[in-house]
């Protein structure tokens, strides 16, 4: 598992308002304004990065404030930090990667 | 906009006990409730998560009102609400029973210091509460330049769960 302080600082170089938040024992990185390119368009959404396994069957996951229609498979709804989030099924993106690469990998199915 | 305030019963009792402690020259003790906020379908929910008492040494004598809290007390309160950003609610008690009312001194001084909370903590509403032994009244500011609005619901979470408390 990577050092969360170092990884968070690296993310904040790209998204200055990225912050680490807790829900129970689980920690997530909130990215309030993430530009996502999908289907030739760019959308501004909020995203929640889960950079390590938390018992949901995935080593890492990226949740979005809205779904991307026609992209990604098996979208599911979640409630985390009191808000609704959405995630699709997407492979095994290792928690050993730098967080910025984890995000990039999770954005691939939406391209 | 409907604003509801929730507090744990144990914390409320602790706050009441703290505010009733005598002070060497201040007639009324004050403190600060720290709250998180959330939007709801009809307004805002304020959830009290902490209480910051004002230390004995942070009261200053004042000729017109007897005592007031000094800048150190304000600084400590703002520090407690700065990161992560939280709502600050100045609180004191008038004792007795029934729905308490703010005195004119309460309102005049609040108009001066509450808007100041928005400069270090701009994204949260701030306000003040006055308690009696079985009830409460509250005001909150949405923005520093606006007039305050009334907190409509007071909910105690604990045994028993009480909405618009009378206990």
């Amino acid at each position: 598992m990577r050092n969360s302080d170092t990884e968070l600082k690296a993310l904040q170089k790209h998204w200055k308002d990225a912050e680490l938040l807790g829900e129970g024992e689980r920690k997530f990185v909130l990215l309030p304004n993430l530009k996502v390119s999908s289907d030739g368009k760019t959308k501004l959404v909020a995203a929640l990065l889960q950079p390590w396994a938390n018992g949901n069957g995935y080593p890492t996951r990226l949740y979005f404030s809205e779904r991307f229609s026609n992209k990604g498979n098996n979208w599911n709804s979640f409630n985390i930090l009191g808000s609704t989030w959405h995630a699709c099924s997407w492979g095994e993106v290792s928690e050993d990667l730098p967080w910025i690469e984890i995000i990039a990998n999770h954005l691939r199915p939406l391209q | 906009m409907k604003v509801s305030l929730k507090i744990m019963r144990g914390l409320l009792e602790h706050v009441r006990q703290d505010l009733k402690r005598p002070h060497s020259f201040a007639y009324e003790r004050v403190g600060f409730l720290i709250a998180s906020a959330a939007g709801t379908p009809r307004g805002i929910l304020l959830t009290i998560c902490d209480y910051q008492p004002v230390d004995d040494e942070d009261y200053e004598r004042n000729e017109s009102v007897g005592a007031e809290i000094g800048s150190d007390a304000m600084r400590k309160a703002v520090q407690a609400a700065y990161r992560p950003q939280r709502t600050l609610l100045h609180v004191h008690t008038h004792g007795g029973l029934g729905r308490p009312e703010f005195s004119s001194v309460d309102l005049i001084s609040a108009e001066e210091f509450v808007p100041g909370f928005f400069y270090p903590v701009p994204k949260m509403p701030h306000g003040l509460l006055v308690l009696s032994d079985d009830d409460a009244s509250g005001l909150y500011w949405q923005q520093p330049e606006q007039k305050p609005e009334t907190i409509s619901d007071f909910i105690i979470v604990g045994g028993p769960y009480t909405r618009n408390w009378r206990t």
Binding site: G55, N74, F78, I80, G82 | M8, V157, G159
Partner: protein, 300 residues
């Protein structure tokens, strides 16, 4: 005379108290449908009903209020619950959504108590976390039928009352990482779990009883937590030993300070309200402006 006169022992203002409360019921199946019916009978005035499903024939063995005609009509479970509630109390106010609770969670924020009749571990886990975040007491129900071999079965279940500062579903072993992972790996499809009406009724009644102890003073000392285990073979409901153990320790899974919405911003809320109140200039003029122009034209 009031239809609630026989329950005046619940407390002097109990009718008004119950009428003013809002209860969220997540899952209107075998357990939730019972709860909805009972809460209507005791006079709860406001409901939030969340369930995505329509009734099917295999629900009819236990879904209270459902009829054969509902199966033919493909009635939604929330609509059945609404019908049952207003049939008892026409003054009850109901907010309902045909959706997963996660997609309608906003509606639960104003609830005084949330009662969960959900099967999935992830749903229970997220409801527990959500309830704590908004300081809402949460009552969770669960029922199981286990094949013990030799054509014998064990009917079991539990009802848990939890809330801020109390042992959570993880403390009490109802939710753990292993169960969440196992559920995720089967894509949450538990198949057709055996379910029957009488244990559901018992568990639902227990849940409603805990709700009443939380909000009315009839029992003397109010309850803020409970973990009641049901043995359907012995016909017993007893307090689980785990609760008294965990009540002496602080919940290690949730922090008291982790409440509210970390994304809340008053400025954005006000900007959104402003957008609603002063919409696009190209919208049709208000009736008031049309009236003023008509007055002017009359004068001219």
């Amino acid at each position: 005379m009031s239809w609630l006169d026989r329950q005046s022992f619940l407390g002097n203002d109990s009718d008004e108290t119950l009428a003013a409360l809002t209860v969220g019921i997540v899952g209107l199946g075998g357990g939730g449908s019972h709860v909805a019916q009972q809460l209507a009978h005791v006079g709860v005035g406001n409901f939030v009903l969340l369930d995505p499903d329509i009734i099917t024939d295999t629900n009819l063995n236990r879904l209270v209020g459902a009829t054969f005609s509902d199966i033919q009509a493909g009635t939604y479970k929330v609509d059945i619950a609404q019908r049952v509630i207003v049939g008892v109390n026409p003054n009850a106010k109901i907010e309902k959504r045909i959706s997963l609770w996660q997609d309608a969670a906003e509606l639960l924020k104003e609830c005084d108590v949330i009662i969960g009749g959900v099967d999935k571990i992830r749903a229970k886990h997220e409801l527990d976390a959500f309830s704590r975040r908004f300081m809402i007491p949460y009552i969770d129900m669960g029922m199981d039928v286990t094949d013990t071999g030799g054509n014998n079965y064990l009917i079991s279940g539990q009802v848990i009352l939890t809330g801020p500062g109390e042992p959570c579903l993880q403390c009490l072993g109802i939710v753990n990482e292993g169960l969440l992972k196992e559920e995720a790996q089967t894509y949450g499809d538990a198949g057709s779990k055996p379910q029957v009406v009488w244990p559901n009724g018992l568990l639902a009644s227990t849940a409603v009883g805990l709700f009443m102890q939380l909000v009315t003073p009839w029992a003397g000392r109010p309850r803020t937590s409970a973990f009641l285990e049901y043995d359907g073979n012995r016909n017993s409901i007893v307090e689980a030993a785990a609760l008294s153990f965990f009540k002496t320790r602080q919940c290690s899974h949730y922090m008291i300070r982790d409440v509210g919405d970390p994304r809340f911003d008053m400025r954005k809320l006000l900007a959104k309200e402003q957008d609603v109140q002063t919409p696009n200039q190209k919208l049709p003029q208000s009736w008031w402006n049309r009236f003023i122009r008509w007055c002017s034209s009359q004068r001219d």
